[in-house]
């Protein structure tokens, strides 16, 4: 496949790994922001191609992981209603709420459907005028244009039975929250390539300057991630702190103005709670008042939602890069993708889930790995 295969080429990956080895003179801690990047790194085993001095910590760029428990419970309360067709991206279906998950609700008769695009929901709404179609609109800035368009289009058509439940989050405030934290170890960032395709990277320049950290906007293929890492390390070795673009084939400094325009018409910035981190001011989107009649949070009164997080979960520390998944005593034992205790294990993008699924054998000593496998089989 063009623009994919070339960026997975082994020889060039080895070449980049060698160049990284040559560049590094001392330890550095880098964070890749986006969950898709974490997924790619662990899936291709990229962190094992890097020298020991380079530590990659995984950031909070997983909207599935950071969606607050309260919002998940709210989604499930809406999905349970017999007059609702609840639509969601596949990612959210197995995320456990306080009691259940959407897939289990589906097995009990709720009309829960996986969609690939928010526009699919409009088709469903047109075809089912007697039902209320609700779309779970989660995501970073990358997905906002699609979600905005679904609402915009619904209004154009006068569709009355469509609404979205919004849990959008923004990257820069999360990065700042990490950088402001007293136990922060991150010295440089691989910036979120597809978020920046939409919003550009102008807003990262003040962050790089204020905190003196290099930020390299990076793609998602193995060669992109290795090259982005190299660029960030070169800056760190040279004492620089600039915003660079590793992904110019789709990212421009100003981003996609047409998309930004529509997003601005439909959404406005608001405070958002991040699971495992807490409320970060001005870190999310909500629908503007003009689109209140498309806002599922207002349309469906589901009562107050009481939630309870696990006390042993250290998701917050993992999301901020302070701890690694295998630092957690529950990792691989009480907490697995089959029974996740917290944010970072619930989705395939979460750092803990990614480590568990793709890389745990390399982090555990052989005896421990064997023992963990036994425990897993016994508990399964």
């Amino acid at each position: 496949m063009k623009y994919i295969d070339e960026y997975r080429q082994q020889e060039l990956a080895q070449g980049l790994a060698r160049e990284i080895q040559r560049t590094v003179t001392r330890p550095w801690v880098l964070m890749e922001v986006c969950g898709g990047q974490t997924h790619s790194i662990v899936k291709y085993g990229l962190d094992h191609l890097l020298p020991k001095e380079v530590e990659l910590v995984h950031g909070p760029g997983c909207p599935v992981c950071v969606t607050p428990l309260e919002m998940i419970d709210r989604a499930q309360a809406i999905a349970r209603r017999p007059d609702v067709i609840f639509c969601s991206f596949g990612d959210m279906l197995r995320v456990p709420g306080s009691e259940s998950d959407l897939l289990i609700l589906k097995s009990r008769g709720a009309d829960v459907r996986v969609v690939y695009s928010p526009l699919d929901c409009l088709k469903i709404a047109r075809a089912n005028p007697d039902k209320k179609v609700v779309f779970f609109a989660i995501g970073f800035e990358t997905t906002a244009p699609a979600n905005a368009m679904s609402v915009w289009q619904a209004r154009q058509e006068g569709l009355r039975n469509f609404s979205i439940l919004v849990s959008h989050v923004l990257v820069p405030p999360a990065m700042e929250a990490i950088l402001q934290s007293p136990d922060n170890r991150v010295q440089g960032f691989l910036g979120p390539g597809h978020v920046c395709t939409v919003v550009g990277y102008e807003e990262y320049e003040p962050i790089a300057a204020k905190y003196h950290v290099p930020i390299v906007v990076t793609g998602f293929e193995p060669l992109d991630l290795l090259q982005g890492t190299l660029m960030a390390l070169r800056q760190l070795e040279a004492g620089k702190a600039e915003v660079e673009n590793e992904y110019p084939r789709v990212v421009k400094r100003e981003g996609n103005r047409v998309a930004q325009d529509l997003v601005g018409k439909v959404f406005e910035v608001c405070d958002r709670a991040w699971r495992g981190v807490g409320t970060i001011p001005q870190s999310g989107y909500r629908l503007r008042d003009a689109f209140r009649d498309y806002d599922a949070e207002h349309l469906f009164q589901v009562g107050s939602i009481k939630t309870q997080e696990s006390p042993i979960c250290i998701s917050g520390l993992v999301l901020r890069g302070v701890k690694k998944p295998h630092d957690c005593p529950a990792f691989g034992k009480e907490c697995t993708p089959q029974h996740p205790l917290g944010a970072t294990m619930v989705s395939a993008e979460g750092a803990c889930a990614a480590y568990y699924t793709y890389g745990r054998h390399l982090h555990m000593k052989p005896a421990a790995a064997g023992k963990a496998k036994e425990l897993e089989v016994a508990h399964s």
């Binding site: 997975r8 080429q9 082994q10 897939l103 009990r108 089959q338 395939a348």
Partner: protein, 372 residues
């Protein structure tokens, strides 16, 4: 598990259920607790071939029916009757849509049991079929399915010798469910068993992966293909016969259906207590299937296959088996995709296209498309 080969004696009546590790079988009738605590109800994931299916079988079914023929949890059971070794297998089909590019539910049902028998090293002989029909199923559709089964059985060289038909109320059954069961003869000297995988063995496959699952998805999701992706469903008994001729001491055969290549190999690794290491660059995958997986956010290693067989063969026989496969119409693109290792027993790992390493783990349920 201590058995290393299929037993060569008259089958004895199964003894009292022995307690499986970690499961309280509760000998007292009427106060027997349900072993699985995590789910109070059956969920779709219990049928997807991954961890939950495995859990359901090993914690609920196996302990109740414990016997040496069931233990291997292989595609079929092998036992002796009057000196001949027979293989016996069953499979049920609930696929939707019932007609898809390259086949239909009937064809799948015939191939499925023929292949399960072939995976035991057996020559498939006789099939039974059970139909559960939903009231309202168009007669034309039923006729198409039956004709398709007849063609498939003829092509595979098996006879449908007995069957049953039931009809349920409209809304109580999804158009048509089919069960097929089958009996075959295992030639002397052939001993296929998941626990026979040995360190040093090579892992082979007869062609590109993920085709069937994507063909089904393409209908469900309304994807168009430049050249249509058709299901690779096929009877594998002829191919397996050729492979066994090249290597009578075949160690393991498995068809990677639901749960994909991953589930099949993970189960074998766990039962044989060996590690399996794959090489991503060697795994055959067509451009179109790859494109579909990229768009849908699916990993081809977890997508269902039909018409595909994984073989674990002694290293010295690998070349001969590969040659035999490539000589057969169903094995033209056969490839050596990995080997059995003594690192990480029970786990499957893979060397990735860029030279890194990762674990290839069983999913707990159906793989869901992702946007992240």
């Amino acid at each position: 598990m201590s058995t290393t080969s299929a037993p060569e004696h008259e089958p004895t009546a199964p003894g009292p259920a022995k307690a499986a590790r970690g499961v309280d079988v509760g000998a007292l009738l009427g106060s027997c607790p349900v072993p699985i605590m995590d789910h109070k109800e059956v969920v779709l994931a219990h049928g997807s071939g991954g961890k939950l299916t495995h859990q359901l079988i090993t914690r609920m079914v196996l302990p109740q029916f414990r016997n040496e023929f069931l233990e291997p949890l292989h595609d079929g059971a092998v036992f002796s009757v009057n000196g001949s070794r027979l293989a016996f297998s069953t499979d049920s089909y609930v696929v939707k849509p019932i007609f898809f590019p390259g086949g239909d539910i009937g064809k799948l049902a015939v191939h499925g049991t023929v292949n399960d028998l072939a995976m035991c090293g057996a020559r498939p002989l006789y099939l039974s079929v059970g139909f559960i029909l939903e009231e309202g199923l168009p007669m034309d559709d039923l006729w198409r399915v039956i004709r398709s089964m007849q063609e498939a059985a003829a092509q595979a060289g098996v006879a449908l010798v007995t069957g049953d038909t039931k009809v349920v109320d409209r809304g109580k059954g999804d158009q048509i469910f089919i069960n097929t069961s089958g009996i075959g003869l295992v030639p002397p000297g052939v001993r296929i068993h998941p626990s026979r995988a040995r360190v040093g063995d090579k892992v082979l496959i007869n062609g590109p992966i993920a085709v069937h699952g994507i063909a089904i998805m393409s209908v469900r999701e309304g994807l168009e293909f430049e050249s249509e992706i058709t299901s690779d469903t096929a009877p594998l008994n002829g191919l397996v016969e050729a492979m066994l001729k090249a290597c009578p001491d075949m160690h393991v055969l498995r068809d990677p259906t639901r749960g994909g290549v991953t589930s099949a190999l993970a189960e074998i690794a766990e039962q044989a207590k060996v590690g399996i290491r794959l090489e991503e660059t060697r795994i055959p995958l067509s451009e179109a299937v790859k494109g579909a997986c990229e768009i849908l956010g699916l990993d081809p290693l977890y997508v269902a296959n039909e018409g595909k067989v994984l073989a674990i063969v002694p290293a010295e026989a690998a070349d001969a088996v590969l040659a035999a496969m490539r000589n057969h119409p169903l094995g033209r693109d056969a490839a050596l995709i990995g080997e059995v290792v003594d690192d990480h027993p029970g786990l499957v790992t893979m060397k990735t296209t860029v030279g890194g390493s990762r674990v290839v783990d069983m999913l707990s349920g159906e793989q869901l498309p992702r946007i992240c």
